[in-house]
């Protein structure tokens, strides 16, 4: 059992990691066939991951409802929404439209999911405005620079700002293309190097937390 739980996943990870790192540099038909098949496997495995996620979500909220923890009513709403959507989805054979006519699944999608998600996102505008009013203060030199550049970019990215302060457009373009790009690039290089290091550690079996349970597993 320990072999199945520990050694086998490590061996599979090592072989697949090394093989498909090398595969990238070998454009031979056999190598191409291998990546075609493995990509299909990965698609299927991702599909199973979706079911796992769904099962986990159901489980977490079932526990909340059972124990009646504070806010368990929301879990009930989540259950009703998910089960309702799944039932209607099956009823409509997963189709949103049939011969141009909207199905009940399509109706639920268009008139509940789209407006609900849109509402959640648009509420951000109100909270960002309120938070900016309270928190965006020139407390230090660095905060002042951030404040000034934010104001210029907010001006330069909309027609009213470009009309009132014509130079804000050019300064915004410069800020985005030069300063912002340089900083973002530095962050990206750091993150990418970290990802490469982590990938190597996983392939070589040094990092084993993905096996679950802890480092000594």
């Amino acid at each position: 059992m320990i072999f199945l739980k520990r050694q086998l996943p490590l061996v599979i990870t090592f072989i697949m990691g090394v093989t498909f790192t090398l595969q990238y540099y070998i454009p031979h038909p056999v190598s191409e066939e291998a990546i075609t098949n493995v990509a299909k496997w990965m698609q299927i495995i991702s599909g199973f991951a979706l079911f796992l996620g769904l099962a986990s979500l159901f489980h977490v909220h079932a526990v909340k409802i059972k124990r009646q923890v504070p806010g368990w009513g929301y879990s009930l709403v989540l259950y009703a929404g998910m089960l309702g959507m799944i039932a209607v989805g099956f009823w409509s054979h997963g189709e949103t439209r049939v011969d141009g006519a909207q199905t009940s699944f399509g109706w639920l999608y268009d008139y509940t999911m789209v407006p609900l998600q849109g509402t959640m996102f648009s509420i951000l505008a109100f909270f960002i405005a309120s938070a900016a009013y309270r928190a965006f203060r020139a407390r230090s030199r660095e905060a002042s620079v951030l404040l000034a550049s934010a104001v210029i970019v907010m001006m330069g990215r909309v027609p009213l700002g470009q009309f009132l302060v014509p130079w804000s457009w050019d300064v915004t373009q410069w800020l985005l293309n030069v300063l912002n790009s340089a900083v973002r690039r530095a962050i990206l290089i750091g993150v990418s190097m970290g990802a490469v290091a982590l990938s190597l550690k996983i392939i070589l079996g040094i990092e084993r937390s993905y096996l679950g349970g802890g480092r000594d597993q």
Binding site: A39, M42, Q43, S46, Q117, Y133, M155, P159
Partner: protein
Amino acid sequence: MKEFARRMVGIDRRIIFLLIAAAVLLPLVKPFGLPIKVSPEVKAVYDYIEALPERSVLFLSFDFDPSSKPELEPQAVALLRHAFRKNLRVIGMTHWLTGTGLADGVFSKVAAEMGKERHKDYVFLGWSPGGGSLIIAMGQDLYKAFPSDYTKTPTRGMPVLDGVQNLRDVNYLVSLAAGGAGIEMWYVFGKDKYRFEMAGGSTGVIAPGLYPFLRSGQINGLIGGLQGAAEYETLITQKGTATAGMDAQSAAHFVIIVLVLLCNVFYFMLRGEKGRPN
């Protein structure tokens, strides 16, 4: 005066909410229609599509869900109008499961408006799991990755896919992305190996993070947020919801700027006080 400043610093946030609501609603009721300036990054996308020969293949990846609809749907509509006007073949798909119905709706609406036929002029492949591995699968063999499209019609033999075997046969790809599963993923798993030209369209909030890809040439153009969509509508000389929404966005930005500046004025007025605001 200090008492007024103190009261203003602690203003009820519902007043700020009301100001923002008014700033968004009033310009939608009575637009002031200011001209839209076009940035080089949006112009680059337009120019590339404009230079494509007829029946070239444009791949449009709808990597967003309804929460980003106000910003990314106008981009999709403008790009589709341009592509159909140029008589290009369009292949669509999404990496976001919850965006599937939305993307199909956009395709159906614009195709009907431009007199284009499904499976002949365009195809919407729908959603399939996998993210990066799905891109690799499409790069190897499009028909294995998507044996059928969103309407469950077999993809092999479709007139719109004539001569298209995998991503190497795509002339231009645009990913309209609201987050991680989007532009970067298309570059890393797609463009880098299968060598097609690509651009990105994104929400305003993630656009600054994509500028390094733009500057390095990993993407050749970038449509950022509602402003980017409005710029594209200006280029195709067909105004839509983005141009209409820019007045509201202008006013909202203006209100936030005024609020932030005012708050700083009050902050400096109270700065020397004992127990000053921080």
